[in-house]
Amino acid sequence: MINAIDKTLASLIKRNISGYLPVLMALIVIWVYFGISEPAFLSSRNLYYLLMQSSVVGILAIGITLILLLGEIDLSIAAVAGVAASILGVLSTNYDFSPLTSCLVALIAGGVLSCLMGLVTSLFGVPSFIATLAGLMGFQGLMMKILGSNGTINVRDPFIRGITTSTLSDNHAIILSIFIILIYGFLLYFDHNKRIKYGLNINPLKLILSKFSFFSLSILSVAIALNSYRGVPFLVVIIFFLTVFIAWFTKSTAFGLYIYAIGGNAKSARHVGIPVIFVTICTFTITGLIAAIAGIIGVSRYASVSYNTFVGGPLLLETIGAAVIGGTSLFGGHGSVWHALLGALVIGSLGNGLDLTGASAADKLIVSGSILLVAVSIDSFARRFKK
């Protein structure tokens, strides 16, 4: 009897964390490895820079996860971020637009460009790989045009810079953490109660409590660690709430369910009357908005816009890598935005750790490539195994 209970508990735990497990393990392995070989890696100062460095990839990874869930791909996502960043830079620096207006225009531009990708993909039936490859090239050109001949625009606007330079005061950070933990606890309680009320099977209390303690401990320890350096960056709070919102949107609304359904079985999604084309176009548009947010964050962080920060470097590959390392399937229908964020941390930690240990750019590329290959292989293997 006890054995049986333990078994169901074990299988429940497995089901609940199986999605997180690989990426969490990867993260822990990387942290332990670099923590031992380079103690500075685990300092709160480095944690701060790690989070800052991973921010643009993290946001883009959230965006591309939506597209991957649909069973599509978006190769233009980093270029869309680049165009949005260029627009923000040009408008706020050369044309004296207010920073808010410039951000708004950048957001709209991101949405419109990706909407275009969605239109071509779903209305004309062009495979998204090709459509967004064309988009990638076109938007790169567009970015060059906007940036003009010297290719780099410096952005010194205090508001825009402030997005990534300001931090919460120590007290505010702790209050916010406790607030978030209380909300999470309330949601768990609410869920538990509702399940009882509707006569559904409930998760064992042990599982709920361990979920809650893991979450609370993680949040609090990050907040305390960051407080011991410069404080919790405002940017971290933005990304947290952006992820909460997108995660809620994908998991708890009809629209989100349709994204998963289309990625899982597009044919049956069509059969039950889901407006597949509409959902695809909207999802691309949302991803464009998210890409534009990443662009804005990028401008703020580097205090400049240049071609290379967005499309010349490895940003696109790191984005796809982050989502896939987070366990989002390239074949559609499986994954979550939280996992993508963790995947971005894995990529960020690798880069950061290798930098600290003095690895060359070549080493970094080889290690990142290997990790990505392993992640994609696991994805393909899991898919074949399930069939």
């Binding site: 708890s252 009809a254 369910l257 399930k386």
Partner: protein, 267 residues
């Protein structure tokens, strides 16, 4: 003793397919196929493999477009050119190749396309953006599976990729039942089911048969059809070779129609 279309013309059929033709390249799947089902009636649809039963069903649900012919509901010609049209016309269906989403949970599959939403009294934003009432959907799914005497699906909020063929079929049927449509089309609903689940599905079909609903069942098991149907339409090579009232027809006559049936010209 077979009954032909013309003898049943006293009341208008609920769903009428008139002279439907459909080719796939060189294969003529349907040749001037006529089909009808009345309100309050359970109609069986039989025929050998490849007779065109599923094709007819897919045309009625807007998945496939006919080359010619028309469909009418309650005497009004109805264009069904997409699955959404079929849903709007009150047609719901269980497909032979179960159209479930592996990556969704049991209750999400049952309610996909017609989710239960929290409305919060607000109608100024579209339904698609409203939050799902997952609890109610799961409870309803649990209830309908209990009605089907299916107790082997434990976790209704987990992905269904571990479920057996029969469990999936039960979900697909729960799905069709839940839509509460006027016209229910079932393509071999019992083909993957165990004995007791088959009995449950058949008795459920009897329960679902209400005065204003029309039900169509495709099956190769004549005994199942005899248990629940009023009439049987026999198809052969894409054509209607006869509509039989089961009260007046023996199983042998039906089998003869399936194997050596000829088209009864009734128009």
């Amino acid at each position: 003793m077979s009954k032909k279309h013309s003898e049943n013309d006293k009341h208008k059929p609920h769903l009428l397919a008139n002279s439907i033709t459909k080719s796939f390249g060189a294969v003529q799947a349907l040749k001037h196929m006529d089909f009808e089902v009345n309100k309050g009636e359970v109609m069986g649809l039989v025929g050998d493999n490849g007779a065109g039963k599923s094709t007819l069903l897919r045309i009625l649900t807007g998945v496939e477009k006919p080359d010619s012919g028309e469909v009418s509901i309650d005497g009004n010609e109805t264009k069904i050119s997409s699955p959404q049209d079929a849903v709007n016309a009150g047609i719901s269906v269980v497909y032979q190749s179960l159209a479930l989403c592996e990556n969704l949970s049991a209750s999400e599959n049952v309610f996909l396309g017609k989710e239960i939403l929290y409305t919060y009294g607000a109608n100024f934003y579209p339904n698609i953006l409203k939050p799902l009432n997952k609890y109610l959907m799961e409870a309803e799914t649990k209830r309908s599976l209990e009605n089907l005497k299916v107790d082997s699906i434990k976790y209704l909020n987990q992905k269904i990729n571990g479920l057996s063929g029969g469990q999936r079929q039960c979900l697909a049927i729960a799905r069709a039942i839940h839509s509460n449509s006027d016209i229910l089309l079932l393509d071999e609903p019992t083909s993957a089911l165990g004995l007791s689940q088959t009995e449950q599905v058949l008795s459920l079909i009897k329960k679902l048969r209400t005065a204003d609903r029309a039900i169509v069942i495709i099956s190769h098991h004549l005994s199942h059809l005899y248990e629940v149907c009023d009439r049987i339409t026999v198809m052969k090579a894409g054509q209607n070779v006869g509509v039989f009232s089961l009260h007046h027809t023996s199983e042998e006559e039906i089998i003869r129609a399936i194997t050596i049936g000829e088209v009864v010209i009734n128009k």
